[in-house]
C-alpha cells in the first residue's frame, strides 16, 4: 500500500462499508489497511467509524471512504444508514466461528436486496492467524488443512463455494499478520466497474444524488424514502 504515487493519476472516491458479526475483526482489518497497525484490544465500534485510504491502481487512484460499522446484532438496524450509497462492501466473518458466516450470509442477502444495485461485495474470512495454514509466514494459505489444534471451523471450500454462488469476491485474511488485507481492497478497487467510477462521487458530486434517487425507487418502501434523513434505519 503505497501512498506516494508518482504522477497524478485520475482519482475517484469509493464508498465502502464493512459489515459482519461483532468481534470478527472489521475494525482491525480497516486499521491494518489504513494504518498498517494492529491493536489487540480494539474498542468496539459504536455506531460506525469513518476512515479513508487511497489505493493506487496502475490506471488510477481509488480513494476508499470506509464505513466501519458496529457488529452487535442490535446495531443491525443502523446499518442501512451506513451502506446507503455504498459502491463496495466487505462482509467479514471469523474463520473460527461458523455462526459468523451465517451472519455474513444474512448481510450479503441484505446488501443484495437493499443496497445500491451493482454493489461490489467481498466476503472475507478473518483471523487466519489462528488457523494452521497461518498465512503470515507460510505465505500461501489456501486449501485449509484441518489438523487437530487448528482453530479453523469454517472450511475454505464452504465459504468459497458460497462466494462463487453469490458472485462475491472471496478472501481469507489476517488483520493481525496483515496477510491478504491489502489484496482485498485492491481486488475491490479493481472490481469497481469503470462506469461507476466515472460517475463516482467526487466531493458531493451530482451522481451521489442520482444514486440516492435510484435507491429510493429500489427500497420498495420499507425505508423512509426521504434518504437524507439520517436515522431512517
Amino acid at each position: 500500500m503505497a501512498d506516494s504515487a508518482g504522477a497524478p493519476r485520475p482519482s475517484s472516491s469509493v464508498k465502502l462499508v464493512l459489515l459482519g458479526e461483532a468481534a470478527v475483526g472489521k475494525s482491525s482489518l480497516v486499521l491494518r489497511f489504513v494504518n498498517n497497525d494492529f491493536q489487540e484490544n480494539k474498542e468496539p465500534t459504536i455506531g460506525a467509524a469513518f476512515l479513508t485510504q487511497k489505493c493506487n491502481l496502475p490506471e488510477r487512484t481509488i480513494k476508499f471512504e470506509i464505513w466501519d460499522t458496529a457488529g452487535q446484532e442490535r446495531f443491525a438496524s443502523l446499518a442501512p444508514m451506513y451502506y446507503r450509497n455504498a459502491q463496495a462492501a466487505l462482509v467479514v466473518y471469523d474463520l473460527t466461528k461458523p455462526t459468523s458466516l451465517i451472519k455474513a450470509k444474512h448481510w450479503v442477502a441484505e446488501l443484495q436486496r437493499q443496497a445500491t444495485p451493482g454493489i461490489v461485495i467481498a466476503l472475507v474470512g478473518n483471523k487466519l492467524d489462528l488457523t494452521n495454514d497461518s498465512a503470515g509466514s507460510s505465505g500461501e494459505g489456501e486449501g485449509g488443512g484441518d489438523d487437530a489444534n487448528d482453530a479453523r471451523k469454517v472450511p475454505t471450500e464452504e465459504a468459497q463455494t458460497y462466494a462463487e454462488q453469490e458472485d462475491l469476491l472471496f478472501f481469507e485474511t489476517s488483520a493481525k499478520t496483515g496477510y491478504n488485507v491489502t489484496e482485498v481492497f485492491t481486488a475491490i478497487a479493481n472490481a469497481i466497474p469503470e462506469t461507476s467510477l466515472k460517475t463516482a462521487r467526487g466531493p458531493s458530486g451530482a451522481s451521489g444524488v442520482n444514486r440516492s434517487e435510484e435507491q429510493r425507487v429500489n427500497l420498495n418502501g420499507p425505508r423512509d424514502p426521504n434518504a437524507k434523513e439520517g436515522c431512517a434505519c
Binding site: A22, E43, I46, G47, E65, F75, S77, H106, S204, G230
Partner: protein
C-alpha cells in the same frame, strides 16, 4: 398495528381515567406518578400521595454563604409532596394530585436556569427524618420543624448531647399553606409514612455508608477510618490533571456546602448546588453526586443487596449477553490503566453481567461497556449497577434496547433540532448528502464518553445526571454551532467527521487564543462549549425534547419494524419460499400482533389487579415494586421482548385468520367456555366480565379444540411448548404452501398419528372425523364444485335459497360420516384374529336395515349424491329395491337436517334414532371393542379421502383456503354478524351431526340447543354411540359390497337376513366378504403406491375426471366391474387420472 393504540386507550379509560396507565404513550400523557417520579428521581414504587403548598426555611446556620447578614436564613416557596417513603420539596411548582392537569404536572419541564428538574428543595427518604415537631406559628396554620439524621451515625445518636458540636443537627422549617383540613390530612399522611419508615433507618445508614460524603464529613474521632470504595480512580488515579481540574478547591467548596446543607440523602438543593455541579464535580464526590442527582441512590436504598444477590443468584450461568460482554471487556476504555488490570475488568464484567440478568429486555448493548467503564472510575460496582439501571430506565430509555429505538428516535429529534436552530447548516448537510446521525449517534449512545477526552465527557455527565437527557442535545447543538463555519466547508461525510474530530482533540485549548483580554484567553474551548450549550440553547427543554420525540416516534418505530420484518422474513429459511412475500409479511404481522397484544393485555390485567389490591390496602399495594410499570410494550420496534407463541396465543393467532378457530359460544360468559386452569391468572379478574379485561381483548374468542392442540404440537418442532415465527411459517407452508392435495392429506394424517408409526387407531379415526367436523362447522371455503348444490336440490325439499351454501356444508357432514364408515371398513386389524370376531356382530345390522325399510321417505331420495351409497346403488340398481333405501339413510338424514334447521320439524330424526336400540348398540360396537384393535394407514386414509368428492375438495382447497393469512377475517362487526349465521348453522348442523350419528332423542335435543359445541361435545362423550352408528353403516356398506361382489348369492343372503337366523350363513358371508375386502384393499394399495410416485398433479386432474364418470352413473371404464363397489370407485379415481 391493528388499532392497538386505540384499544389500549380504551382500556386505560376503563381502568382508571385519572391515574392512566399510559401504556401506549407514556410521553404524551404521562401519569402523575411518573411525572412525580421523574421530577424527584424516585423509584417507580413511589406515588404522590399528598401535596401541599409550603414554604421552606433553611436556618442561617445551614445557609450557604449567606448567613452573615441574614438572620432569617433562606426561604423558598414551593410544593411539598409526600409519597410512600419520601418527603419531597421543590420550588418548581408542579402538581401531581389527581385533579391536576397535565400542564400543572409537567411545568418542571420548563427552563431550569440551573435548577434542574428537581428545582431547589430536597428529596428526603422518610427514614432519614429523625424528628418532626409542630411549631406554633401565627402566619400559617401549620409549621413543622424537621430534623434529619444528617451526620448522626447510629452510635453517635445515643450520646448525641456530648457530640453536639461535632454533628451539626440539620433542622429545617416547613410552613404549610392550606386549609386546616388539608394541612391535617398532609400531616396525618406524614405521620403514617414516618412510622412506616422507622424500620428502614438501618438500611439507610448502611446504604449511605458507601457515600464518600460520610467519610469526608466524618467526625474527628474517626479520622482514621477507611474511605469507602469510590471507584477505580482511588486505585488507578482519576483521569485528568488534578491541578488543572482544581480538584482540591472544588472539594473544599463541596465540603462546605455539604456541611451546611446536608449530605447524600439529606441534601438540600440550593442554587449553589447547581452552580457547583456546572463547574465540575471533584473526583471523589463525583460518583456520589451522580448517584444522587440521577436518583439511582434511591434505587439502591430500596434494594441495597440487589446487586450482590443478582450476582449470587446467576453465578455460573451463561447467556448470550454474557458472551457479548466477554468480547468487549478488554476493549472498554482500554487506555485507562484500571481497565488494563484484572481488577477493573472484573468489576466491569460483574456490573454488566448483573445488569443483563435483571434487565433481560436490554441484556447487553455495545456502548454500555464504555458507559459503565466510565462510571466505575468514580463509583463502586453496586453504585454503577444502579446508575446503569437509572440510565436505561429513565435517562436514556430505549438507547440500549434490542432495537435501539431510543437511540434512533433521539437522532431524529436531534436532526429536527438542528434543522430548527441552524437552518443554514442543515441545508448544507442535506445538499451535500451528509448524514448527521453518522457523527452524532455515537455521541448520544456513549454519552460523549468516547467522543470527547474523558475529563470533558465527565463534565458533560455531571450536568446530564442532574438536568436530564436534554443536556445531550444542548451539547450536541453547541458543538455544531461552534464549528458551524468549518462544517459549512465540509462537503462530505469524511470532511465533516474530521472537522469534529479535530475539534474534540482541542477542547482544552483556549477558545479565544488571540484575544487581548487575558480573561477571555483563559476560557477553554470546553468552557465555551458549555456556555453555548446552556445559554444559547437554553430553549431546549425537557418539554421540547418530549414533544419532538412524540412527533417522530411512529416513523422511527415503523422504520425499525420494517427493517426487523424484512430481516426476519429473509432469514426464515427454505420453507418460507413456499409462501409468497405478502403472505409472509402478513404472517409476521399477525404473529407479533398477537404476541404483543397479549403481552399488553397481560400488563393491563396485572396492573388492574395491582390497582385493586392497592385500593383495598393502599400502602402495601403501592410498595409492590412494578419496575416496568410505565414501560411501553406492544411494538416490535420497542424491542422484541417476546418472540414465542404459547398455545393460547396460538389459538388467538389462528382465530384471527381462520373462522373455524373461533369459539362457538362467544356470547356466553367467557369463563364457562374454558376450564379454570386454562385461564389461570385471568380467572380472578375476569369475574367482572369486562370486555377489555377479557383475555382475548377485542377479538373473537378462539376455540379450544383437540385439533388446535395437535396442530400446535405439530408445529412446535422444537417441543418447546411455544412456537417461533419460524415454526409458524414452516407449519403453514406445509398446509398452504404447495397446492398439493396428497401433501395435505398426509399432513392431516400425520397430525393424528400420535406415535408416528404410520398407523392411526380407532380413537384416531374418530378424532380425525371430529377434526373434520370442527373445521367445517362454519362452512367450507375454497372452490367447491357448484354442480353438487343443484343435485342436492332434489333431496332438500327446501327453498332454493337454503340450498346453496348450507347444503354443501351439510353434505360435508354426510361425507364425514361416510369417512368414518369407510375408515373402519378399510381399517387393518392389529391382529389377524379380529377378522373372525367381527362377523358374529354383524347380525343385528340386518334388523336395523329392516327398520329402515319401514321408512317411506327413504324411497323418495334421489340417486343423486355422489356418496358412496349411491355408487353402490348404481352398480346394482335394479337388483334389490330393498338395498336402495338402506343405502340412502345418510341422505335422508341430511335432508332431515336441512328440514330441522328450517324448523319444519320432520319426523325423520326420531325415526332415525329409533333404530338404535340398546341391545343393538351393545352388539354393534365392534369399532369400539377394545379387544378388536384396528388402525388405518396413510394409503388407506388417502384412499378414503379421495373416495369422497367433498373430502377431496376439502383437502385440496377449503382447508388450505381457510387460513386467511393476508386478508384475515372480517372486522369485528362482520365477524359478529357471521357469528349469528354460525349459530344458526350450528343449530342445524348440530342436529345434523346428531342425526348423522344416530344420536338418541334425549341427547339430540340438547345438542341442538347447545349449538355446535354441544354437538361436538356429544361426539366426544358419546363416542360409543357414534362408533356404533358408524359400525352399523360400515356393516351396511359391507353388505352392499358382499352383494355386489357375489351377485349370484344375493337372494340367499337376503333370505338369511329375513330368516333372522344369523349364525351359519352369516359367518360364511362374512368370511367371503372379508376376503373380498382384503383383496380390494391390497389392490388399492398397490395402486396408491403407484400414485405416490406420480404425486400431486395426477390427482388433481383425477378429481375432475372422476366426477365425470360418477356423473354418468356407470362405471363403464371400471375394469374391476362388480368385483368391489367401494374399491372400484377408488380405483376408478386413480385410473382416470
Amino acid at each position: 398495528m391493528y388499532n392497538l393504540s386505540s384499544f389500549v386507550q380504551k382500556a386505560q379509560q376503563l381502568l382508571d381515567p385519572t391515574q392512566g396507565l399510559n401504556l401506549s404513550d407514556p410521553d404524551k400523557n404521562p401519569s402523575k406518578a411518573s411525572l412525580f417520579q421523574s421530577q424527584f428521581r424516585l423509584p417507580s414504587s413511589q406515588h404522590p400521595l399528598y401535596e401541599i403548598t409550603a414554604e421552606l426555611t433553611i436556618p442561617p446556620a445551614n445557609a450557604t454563604q449567606g448567613g452573615k447578614d441574614r438572620d432569617t436564613g433562606f426561604r423558598y416557596a414551593g410544593k411539598l409532596h409526600i409519597s410512600e417513603a419520601y418527603l419531597c420539596f421543590s420550588t418548581t411548582g408542579s402538581s401531581f394530585v389527581q385533579s391536576a392537569s397535565t400542564s400543572t404536572s409537567s411545568v418542571f419541564t420548563g427552563q431550569t436556569h440551573g435548577a434542574g428538574p428537581g428545582g431547589n428543595g430536597f428529596t428526603f427518604p422518610l427514614c432519614a427524618i429523625r424528628r418532626v415537631e409542630r411549631l406554633h406559628s401565627q402566619n400559617f396554620q401549620f409549621a413543622l420543624a424537621i430534623t434529619t439524621w444528617n451526620g448522626i451515625s447510629q452510635d453517635a445518636a445515643k450520646d448525641k448531647d456530648k457530640d453536639k458540636k461535632d454533628a451539626r443537627e440539620q433542622r429545617i422549617t416547613l410552613q404549610l399553606a392550606g386549609t386546616r383540613q388539608a394541612c391535617e390530612r398532609f400531616c396525618d399522611g406524614l405521620k403514617k409514612g414516618l412510622r412506616a419508615g422507622v424500620g428502614n433507618v438501618g438500611r439507610l445508614k448502611k446504604a449511605v455508608a458507601e457515600c464518600y460524603s460520610e467519610y469526608l464529613l466524618r467526625p474527628e474521632d474517626q479520622k482514621n477510618a477507611n474511605p469507602p470504595d469510590v471507584g477505580l480512580g482511588m486505585m488507578f488515579r482519576y483521569p485528568g490533571d488534578v491541578k488543572k481540574l482544581r480538584d482540591r478547591a472544588k472539594m473544599r467548596l463541596w465540603a462546605e456546602y455539604l456541611r451546611d446543607n446536608g449530605r447524600n440523602t439529606t441534601l438540600l438543593r440550593q442554587p449553589t448546588f447547581h452552580k457547583l455541579i456546572r463547574v465540575g464535580l471533584p473526583n471523589r464526590l463525583r460518583g456520589e453526586m451522580w448517584e444522587l442527582t440521577s436518583g439511582s441512590i434511591y434505587l439502591r436504598l430500596e434494594n441495597p443487596s440487589l446487586y450482590t444477590d443478582t450476582l449470587a443468584k446467576f453465578s455460573g450461568q451463561e447467556s448470550l449477553a454474557i458472551d457479548e460482554i466477554e468480547k468487549d471487556l478488554n476493549r472498554s476504555l482500554p487506555e485507562y490503566p484500571g481497565f488494563q488490570s484484572e481488577e477493573g475488568i472484573g468489576r466491569l464484567r460483574r456490573v454488566l453481567t448483573a445488569y443483563s440478568w435483571v434487565d433481560t429486555d436490554v441484556g447487553y448493548c455495545q456502548a454500555m461497556n464504555i458507559v459503565v467503564a466510565a462510571l466505575l472510575i468514580y463509583m463502586s460496582e453496586s453504585q454503577a449497577f444502579f446508575l446503569l439501571s437509572a440510565l436505561c430506565d429513565r435517562l436514556v430509555p430505549g438507547y440500549y434496547s434490542t432495537t435501539m429505538y431510543g437511540t434512533l428516535l433521539d437522532q431524529k429529534v436531534f436532526e429536527s433540532l438542528v434543522e430548527r436552530t441552524m437552518p443554514i447548516l442543515w441545508e448544507h448537510l442535506v445538499k451535500s448528502d451528509v448524514q448527521l446521525s453518522v457523527v452524532s449517534l455515537p455521541w448520544f449512545l456513549s454519552l460523549y464518553i468516547n467522543s470527547m477526552p474523558l475529563v470533558f465527557a465527565f463534565r458533560v455527565l455531571d450536568v446530564f445526571f442532574v438536568e436530564g437527557p436534554k443536556v445531550l442535545f444542548q451539547v450536541g447543538l453547541a458543538i455544531l454551532r461552534i464549528n458551524g463555519e468549518e462544517l459549512l466547508d465540509a462537503a462530505d461525510d469524511g470532511a465533516f467527521i474530521s472537522v469534529l474530530k479535530s475539534y474534540f482533540a482541542r477542547l482544552d485549548e483556549s477558545a479565544h487564543p488571540k484575544s487581548e483580554n487575558p480573561k477571555l484567553r483563559a476560557v477553554t474551548r470546553f468552557q465555551e462549549l458549555m456556555v453555548v450549550a446552556f445559554k444559547e440553547f437554553s430553549g431546549i427543554t425537557h418539554g421540547s425534547i418530549t414533544e419532538l420525540r412524540l412527533q417522530n416516534k411512529n416513523s422511527v418505530l415503523n422504520n425499525i419494524e420494517n427493517f426487523a420484518k424484512r430481516t426476519a422474513i429473509r432469514n426464515l429459511g427454505p420453507d418460507s419460499k413456499l409462501l409468497n412475500a405478502d403472505e409472509l409479511g402478513a404472517l409476521y404481522d399477525r404473529f407479533y400482533t398477537v404476541l404483543y397484544e397479549r403481552q399488553q393485555r397481560d400488563l393491563i390485567l396485572k396492573q388492574e389487579q395491582a390497582r385493586r389490591v392497592k385500593s383495598s390496602r393502599p400502602r402495601l399495594g403501592a410498595m409492590a415494586n412494578s419496575h416496568d410499570e410505565a414501560v411501553e410494550k406492544g411494538r416490535v420496534g420497542l424491542g422484541p421482548s417476546t418472540s414465542l407463541m404459547d398455545y393460547d396465543a396460538f389459538r388467538e393467532f389462528l382465530a384471527g385468520m381462520a373462522k373455524w378457530a373461533i369459539s362457538d359460544t362467544p356470547a356466553t360468559p367467557r369463563r364457562e367456555t374454558f376450564p379454570e386452569a386454562d385461564r389461570g391468572f385471568y380467572g380472578s379478574v375476569n369475574k367482572k366480565s369486562d370486555v377489555m379485561l377479557s383475555p382475548w381483548g377485542a377479538g373473537p374468542e378462539p376455540a379450544d379444540h383437540e385439533f388446535l392442540r395437535r396442530l400446535f404440537v405439530k408445529w412446535d418442532a422444537g417441543a418447546n411448548a411455544a412456537l417461533t415465527l419460524q415454526n409458524v411459517v414452516t407449519g403453514l407452508a406445509r398446509i398452504k404452501g404447495k397446492r398439493d392435495i396428497l401433501g395435505i392429506i398426509t399432513y392431516f394424517f400425520e397430525l393424528h398419528d400420535d406415535d408416528g408409526d404410520g398407523k392411526v387407531d380407532r380413537e384416531g379415526i374418530l378424532r380425525m372425523s371430529e377434526a373434520l367436523l370442527f373445521l367445517s362447522r362454519r362452512g367450507l371455503e375454497g372452490t367447491l364444485s357448484p354442480s353438487n348444490s343443484t343435485l342436492t336440490l332434489s333431496t332438500g325439499g327446501g327453498s332454493q335459497g337454503d340450498v346453496s351454501g348450507q347444503s354443501i356444508n351439510e353434505r360435508f357432514l354426510g361425507s364425514v360420516s361416510a369417512f368414518i364408515r369407510r375408515c373402519f371398513e378399510y381399517a387393518d386389524p392389529d391382529h389377524p384374529n379380529n377378522h373372525f370376531a367381527s362377523p358374529q356382530q354383524k347380525q343385528p345390522l340386518v334388523e336395523m336395515d329392516d327398520d329402515q325399510l319401514a321408512d317411506p321417505d327413504a324411497f323418495s331420495i334421489g340417486d343423486d349424491d355422489d356418496d358412496e351409497d349411491d355408487l353402490l346403488e348404481m352398480e346394482s340398481p335394479a337388483a334389490s329395491p330393498k338395498t336402495g333405501p338402506r343405502s340412502h339413510a345418510l341422505d335422508k338424514q341430511a335432508s332431515s337436517i336441512r328440514l330441522d334447521s328450517m324448523s319444519t320439524a320432520p319426523s325423520n330424526a326420531p325415526s332415525n334414532n329409533r333404530r338404535v336400540s340398546k341391545a343393538q348398540s351393545e352388539r354393534a360396537n365392534i369399532a369400539l371393542d377394545p379387544s378388536n384393535p384396528l388402525h388405518i394407514t396413510l394409503p388407506t386414509f388417502r384412499m378414503v379421502v379421495l373416495a369422497d368428492e367433498l373430502l377431496e375438495q376439502f383437502f385440496e382447497s377449503s382447508f388450505p383456503a381457510s387460513f386467511h393469512i393476508i386478508e384475515g377475517l372480517q372486522s369485528s362487526a362482520t365477524a359478529s354478524s357471521s357469528l349469528t349465521t354460525f349459530s344458526n348453522l350450528g343449530l342445524g348442523a348440530g342436529r345434523a351431526v346428531g342425526a348423522a350419528f344416530g344420536g338418541a332423542p334425549g341427547a339430540q335435543a340438547p345438542a341442538g340447543g347447545r349449538g355446535l359445541r354441544g354437538v361436538l361435545d356429544n361426539i366426544v362423550t358419546d363416542g360409543m354411540r357414534v362408533a356404533q352408528e358408524v359400525v352399523r353403516r360400515m356393516e351396511e356398506a359391507q353388505k352392499e359390497l358382499e352383494r355386489n361382489a357375489v351377485p349370484g348369492q344375493r337372494n340367499d343372503e337376503e333370505d338369511d337376513e329375513e330368516d333372522d337366523d344369523p349364525a351359519p350363513a352369516g359367518k360364511s358371508v362374512a368370511y367371503r366378504g372379508d376376503a373380498e375386502r382384503r383383496s380390494v384393499r391390497s389392490s388399492d394399495r398397490d395402486l396408491l403406491a403407484g400414485v405416490d410416485a406420480e404425486a400431486s398433479d395426477v390427482t388433481v386432474s383425477a378429481a375432475g375426471t372422476r366426477r365425470a364418470s360418477v356423473g354418468q352413473g356407470s362405471n363403464g371404464d371400471n375394469q374391476q366391474g362388480p368385483a368391489g363397489g367401494a374399491g372400484s370407485k377408488v380405483v376408478g379415481v386413480e385410473f382416470d387420472g
